[in-house]
């Protein structure tokens, strides 16, 4: 089974390289004709004008900086996931087109004129809001990370996927513009018995999750913009729920309805899917918060070390419980640690960038990073999670990963034990 699947993937890859060989990539070796003292080939001629590209796109030489998926993972690409190329990104803002996608029934296409948000149940007034109505409420602009509960889920039993993108890329970080639900609900009023909210999407999966009202009133938003522009269709255009610090599937996209009730609704996603099966056959339910986590994005399996000498290690850290306080990096598999530099801004429930310069003289390295958040929580090893939860969990793997740098500078995802 494993071998046939692998061969299948390989044959697809081969087909791809025959059929779509137009991909332009940065060449390995420079063309001496473009180097000093010669006149580079792009200098004499006019470039494209301002009317060529009304909505800009990255350089053609960056065409390998893309979301990628794992075809064998799911039965259909409409109910599936792809991954953010964290290894290629700088800073903390994820470009909109690179934010990972996770859909349960494909991307809904919604004309914003036809968009409506209904609020019903235990409210004083059951109401309907258009997109224009939502935009007339007081707005907030906030950076938050969004991480799928299954990020790293394939690594529970061992090192499986050889890439930073595939093992950590179900996270993105953007600035949302939206209305706080606590403001929106001043319009509908709330009955005292309202304890839970059912958030419902208008995509074909009718995505639904129950959320306790304390969280809804604390910091949840209905957002219509990300990184300064309208939400991308794959991120819920024209409006989505933002549930800061909590697992991604609760951030219902294409949101059409919020129903207030006195009990949780026990939807398919919160019973049969996003629950954590333990060793004894019991499962944890309503495990919402994404605990502190970090990853070294370079060096990483996709970002080998190219030459000896000074290197700039780069990585990302985040916590669903607040701010990242510190990130430590080890080069010897966790025996000794150095504290990395955190780059401002350091915002709660947002990705934080860290860097650490180091010298490499061709020796083998076992690189790890370890995040500590403002609550004092220290990112654990997988063995500690396995000891408590067993190996049947899919979700909430926030453990420390290990990148093996071999003597040639190549990097592999490995498991230590």
């Amino acid at each position: 089974m494993k071998f046939s699947r692998r061969n299948l993937i390989k044959s697809f890859a081969a087909l791809g390289s025959i059929g779509f060989s137009t991909k332009v990539l940065a060449q390995d070796k420079p063309n001496p004709n473009n180097l000093p003292p010669n006149l580079p080939e792009w200098t004499p001629d006019l470039g494209t004008g301002v009317d060529e590209n009304p909505y800009g796109s990255p350089s053609e030489f960056e065409s390998d900086v893309i979301r990628r998926n794992v075809p064998w993972l799911t039965a259909s690409p409409q109910s599936s996931v792809n991954f953010t190329p964290l290894q290629d990104l700088e800073g903390i803002v994820t470009p909109n087109g690179l934010c990972f996608e996770r859909h349960h029934g494909g991307v809904a296409e919604i004309n914003p004129t036809d968009y409506r948000l209904m609020i019903n149940g235990l409210v004083d007034r059951e109401m309907i809001f258009s997109l224009d109505d939502l935009k007339r409420f007081p707005q907030v602009n906030k950076f938050y990370f969004l991480e799928c509960a299954a990020n790293g889920g394939m690594e529970w039993k061992g090192a499986q996927l050889n890439g930073c993108q595939y093992t950590f890329g179900m996270v993105h970080n953007v600035q949302y513009t939206g209305v706080k639900l606590s403001d929106l609900l001043r319009e509908t009023g709330l009955k005292p018995k309202a304890k839970w909210v059912l958030a419902e999407g208008s995509d074909t999966s009718g995505m639904t999750r129950s959320i306790p009202i304390e969280k809804i009133l604390d910091d949840c938003l209905i957002a219509w913009a990300m990184n300064g522009e309208a939400l991308r269709p794959e991120q819920g255009y024209p409006a989505r729920l933002v549930v800061p610090g909590w697992e991604g599937n609760m951030w219902v996209k294409w949101i059409r309805r919020l129903e207030f009730g006195d009990k949780p609704y026990m939807t398919r996603e919160e019973t049969s899917k996003y629950t954590d099966l333990l060793r004894d056959g019991k499962a944890r339910m309503f495990t919402w918060v994404m605990e502190a986590k970090s990853v070294v994005t370079s060096p990483s399996p996709e970002k080998p070390i190219l030459q000896k000498g000074i290197q700039q290690l780069r990585g990302l850290a985040w916590s669903g419980k607040g701010k990242i306080k510190r990130v430590d990096v080890s080069f010897d598999g966790g025996k000794n640690w150095r504290t990395a530099l955190l780059h401002a801004p350091i915002m709660p429930k947002s990705l934080v960038r860290f860097t650490l310069p180091f010298e490499w003289s061709g020796e083998e390295l076992l690189i790890q990073s370890r995040a500590i958040d403002e609550t004092g929580y220290v990112q654990p090893y997988i063995q500690e999670l396995q000891k408590i939860r067993g190996k049947n969990s899919i979700y909430h793997n926030n453990s420390i990963a290990t990148w093996l740098v071999n003597k040639s500078g190549k990097v592999d995802n490995v498991r230590l034990g």
Partner: protein, 212 residues
């Protein structure tokens, strides 16, 4: 008499306006519109474990077999055994505490209401909300029957879907016990730490990573 009725009506109208305007003054921004009960009814399709929200209808597993074969079997198999990588819906009893747990509607799902809610809102895959309420009850009854939870002539309906006892109803733990790790005091080991550094597995040896 007629005049009196008119006066009463006028008084009632006045009080209605008073009520409405007092409500309106509670609204902070006067944005949005009041939803009619008909609008809410069209979109409020969820069904809770206690059966609240279950639409009027009924069905038996006996009737559900044919509907399942037509609407569900191409992905889930005639008996819920799953085709290709599409989910298995039947079986898995006794597997949850093994190395290879099988989580199906029978072995894992804690409430029958959830099966109804999900099938009605999201199935068949790519044709959601196309089943009638009766067809949905029939399919749910067929799944419950195949998982040995009800008999094939049991009439599942809005009246009893909240009363079905599922095998794994008590299989879920609340509340979230995390943080469930030992180091929550912000002071991890920095030097000469006692950790295993032997490589016991490499992703490249598993060789399931897609190639570009």
């Amino acid at each position: 008499m007629y005049v009196w009725v008119k006066i009463v009506s006028a008084l009632m109208l006045t009080s209605l306006i008073t009520i409405f305007s007092s409500e309106a003054s509670d609204r902070a921004f006067n944005l949005g519109s009041i939803a009619t009960s008909q609008q809410v009814k069209g979109w409020d399709i969820d069904v809770r474990p206690d059966g609240v929200g279950a639409p009027i209808g009924s069905g038996t597993a006996f009737d559900g077999e044919e509907v399942f074969a037509e609407q569900c079997a191409s992905c889930h198999g005639d008996f819920g055994e799953g085709v290709d990588r599409w989910p298995e819906l039947v079986g898995g009893d006794g597997t949850l505490n093994t190395h290879d747990p099988l989580k199906t509607t029978g072995s894992y799902w804690p409430y029958a209401s959830t099966i109804f809610d999900y099938i009605y809102r999201a199935m068949p895959f790519g044709a959601s909300q196309s089943l009638s309420y009766d067809e949905t009850y029939q399919i749910v009854a067929y799944l419950l029957y195949m998982n040995d939870i009800i008999d094939d002539d049991f009439v599942l309906s809005d009246q009893n879907i909240g009363l079905i006892e599922m095998p794994n109803q008590d299989g879920f733990l609340l509340p979230d016990p995390r943080p469930d790790v030992s180091n929550i005091n912000g002071n991890p080991c920095m030097e000469n730490c006692n950790v295993p550094v032997k490589i016991i597995g490499k992703a490249k040896d598993i060789d399931v990573t897609p190639e570009d």
